[in-house]
């Protein structure tokens, strides 16, 4: 697998690859893909089964197609499912912005600047990744409530404020690693041209950090879209619920089980994230080597 790719890469724009090789690669990809996607196809099949069939028929395809699950799921609650989609989109998009901006700034400091206690702060940053979140949620709730974030006019504040303060150390670390892959000669050249630390950030690092920013955007969006526990704890009004919280409302395991509509909405909820991914991954395709900035 490995050699195929590197060849392809080295062949560059010339496109002199033998046809058989790319056919082979496609075949390998399709085989892996079939295995990877089977459970998802099963999920789609289940979304089209009736309630009884979901429990009794574990096969891939429904005996009787029940597309009604989609309409039933959409309007299952007093609040339309579209509202939950909008809420999730709002929270996810703002999280993307917050993470991209705040983590990029911090990562630049860690990766390129020299200042007292840098090593110590970096260690602290990595340390914040390591504590299991379940022991933090109660103290965090108490803290957020005491500063008025909980119960504020806008219910998403406790979910979003941390994201604008680079608390997702994962992304800081990710960007640090990417920035360290940018040759330092570029900084030196800019410095000779009289650029300050801010100038280097603006004209060298920022344009070259696109892969890292795109990766951050993708993950921020998807993870927020799927995050259940924090959103459950901090949101209290049906109107404000997000998709992952709303999806659990279909099944109250002791008293109610609208499995079909739940599956239908689960399938639907994949579409925005899938779209977001496909749209943004395009930007991964054009790496720094095409950006014309290499000196």
């Amino acid at each position: 697998m490995v050699s195929v790719t590197t060849t392809a890469r080295a062949a560059g724009p010339g496109r002199r690859r033998p046809r058989s090789r790319s056919a082979l690669r496609l075949l390998v990809l399709l085989a892996i893909l079939a295995v990877v996607l089977y459970p998802l196809i099963w999920m789609l099949g289940t979304a089209l089964k009736s309630q009884e069939e979901i429990v009794s028929n574990v096969g891939l395809l429904p005996e009787r197609f029940t597309p009604g699950n989609f309409t039933a799921g959409w309007s299952h609650f007093d609040v339309s499912f579209g509202r939950f989609f909008l809420n999730s989109a709002l929270v996810s998009l703002l999280t993307v912005v917050g993470n991209a901006v705040s983590c990029l700034l911090a990562a630049y400091a860690f990766a390129r600047l020299r200042f007292p206690l840098r090593g110590a702060w970096f260690a602290v940053m990595i340390g914040t990744l390591l504590l299991p979140g379940h022991v933090l949620i109660v103290p965090q709730y108490i803290l957020f409530r005491s500063v008025g974030l909980v119960g504020a006019e806008w219910p998403y504040l406790p979910l979003l404020v941390p994201q604008f303060l680079a608390t997702e150390a994962f992304f800081v670390f990710l960007m640090v690693q990417f920035m360290r892959g940018i040759p330092r000669e570029l900084d030196e050249a800019a410095k000779i041209d009289g650029a300050s630390a801010y100038g280097i950030f603006r004209y060298v690092i920022l344009p070259l950090s696109r892969p890292a920013l795109v990766t951050t955007a993708i993950f921020s969006f998807i993870w927020t879209w799927n995050d259940f526990f924090r959103q459950l704890v901090f949101l209290s009004d049906l109107q404000d619920y997000t998709v992952p919280v709303a999806l659990t409302l279909f099944i109250d395991s002791t008293s109610q089980s609208a499995v079909g509509p739940m599956f239908a909405m689960s399938v639907l909820s994949l579409l925005p994230v899938f779209g977001f991914f496909v749209a943004f991954q395009r930007m991964l395709v054009e790496g720094i080597n095409t950006s014309g900035l290499k000196g």
């Binding site: 392809a8 999920m43 702060w121 504590l131 999806l247 994949l270």
Partner: protein, 327 residues
């Protein structure tokens, strides 16, 4: 970068911080950087102080108490090291969970990374439709830990599930994988590996950063495919490999969602999927022993920090940074 350390010792970590003296920097730049450094760091510092540090310190404090969530802080009783003693001497479930987690991480993490790197290399070059393929390979990871995922997975790996139907084509008699205490953890590993999308995307992004000229230069030198991979791709990708290794290891040890979802929050059958963090969650929220759970969390932090330190200290031998700073 001077990181060979556990978290800040003031927060109870065991490592020591050794900021290495700056090399080859002139005084002029160092001064400017010092101010700029803190300017750029300020949002993160604010977040640390306002959002992260206080709850962390609180949880550290609570780990020395009998905190049960429902009792107000003011009535919490200090129990000294009792929680830690209990963990190390009197709680077989705890050690069981440690074993389960180690087994899981040691097997699932390397396999997941291998799958992610392999597919990323296959999908690296731009060709028509590659975006769709990338998306499709990422699709499983989009599911996160939803209720639907649990139902899907249980039905794949049940006695009458798809996996056994496939096996029976080859005349192999399957097992009730997900409901078999000897195989449930393996089922969980397959789930983790199946969701290899995140490291795959990071590998893809990293591959994009490898300058094409290096391959061209290598070609001029007469390097074959393998040598190009070995001498160009791998070293240039090493910071990203390093990142993925560190993060996936942390994720592997923290693996909560899959275990929670697949076992309905119990860690069953017979505790076979009782991962460390699941045990911690049950202890904290179901048994309402949050003090004890906090102690578990801090032991976890120290253990993972040690592993991370080992990674960082071996990094200098194999991670290649274009910024010219070694480790």
């Amino acid at each position: 970068m001077a990181l060979t350390t556990a978290p800040d010792p003031t927060r109870g970590g065991t490592g020591s911080v050794r900021p290495r003296a700056t090399r080859r920097r002139t005084g002029r730049i160092r001064y400017g950087d010092g101010l700029a450094g803190y300017v750029f760091l300020s949002p993160w510092l604010a977040g640390l102080l306002a959002v992260t540090a206080i709850p962390m310190l609180v949880s550290l404090y609570l780990s020395f108490t009998n905190y049960d969530i429902l009792t107000p802080f003011s009535e919490v009783r200090w129990v000294g090291l009792a929680n830690y003693e209990r963990m190390f001497t009197a709680d077989p479930s705890y050690w069981h969970a440690v074993r389960v987690t180690l087994t899981f991480a040691l097997i699932a993490v390397p396999l997941k990374l291998a799958a992610a790197l392999g597919v990323a290399l296959l999908l690296n070059r731009a060709w028509r439709g590659v975006g769709l393929f990338r998306g499709l390979f990422y699709l499983p990871s989009l599911l996160g830990g939803s209720v639907a995922l649990a139902i899907v997975w249980v039905n794949m790996f049940n006695r009458d599930g798809a996996v056994n139907s496939l096996l029976s084509l080859f005349g192999i008699e399957g097992r009730p994988w997900v409901n078999d205490p000897d195989w449930a953890l393996e089922t969980l590993m397959v789930l983790a590996i199946w969701q290899f999308g995140a490291p795959m995307v990071i590998f893809l992004a990293g591959l994009k950063q490898v300058p094409t000229e290096l391959y061209e230069a290598a070609a001029v030198d007469g390097a074959g495919r393998w040598r190009k991979f070995r001498n160009v791709t791998l070293p240039m990708l090493s910071p990203v490999i390093f990142f993925n290794l560190v993060l996936e290891t942390i994720n592997g040890f923290q693996g909560f969602t899959a275990a929670f979802v697949l076992s309905n929050g119990t860690g069953g059958p017979v505790d076979s999927t009782l991962m460390y963090t699941l045990n911690l969650y049950i202890t904290g929220f179901t048994d309402l022993e949050m003090g004890y759970a906090s102690a578990m969390a801090w032991v976890f932090l120290i253990a993972i920090a040690l592993i991370t330190v080992i990674f960082f200290s071996t990094g200098r031998f194999w991670v290649h940074y274009a910024d010219g700073e070694g480790r």
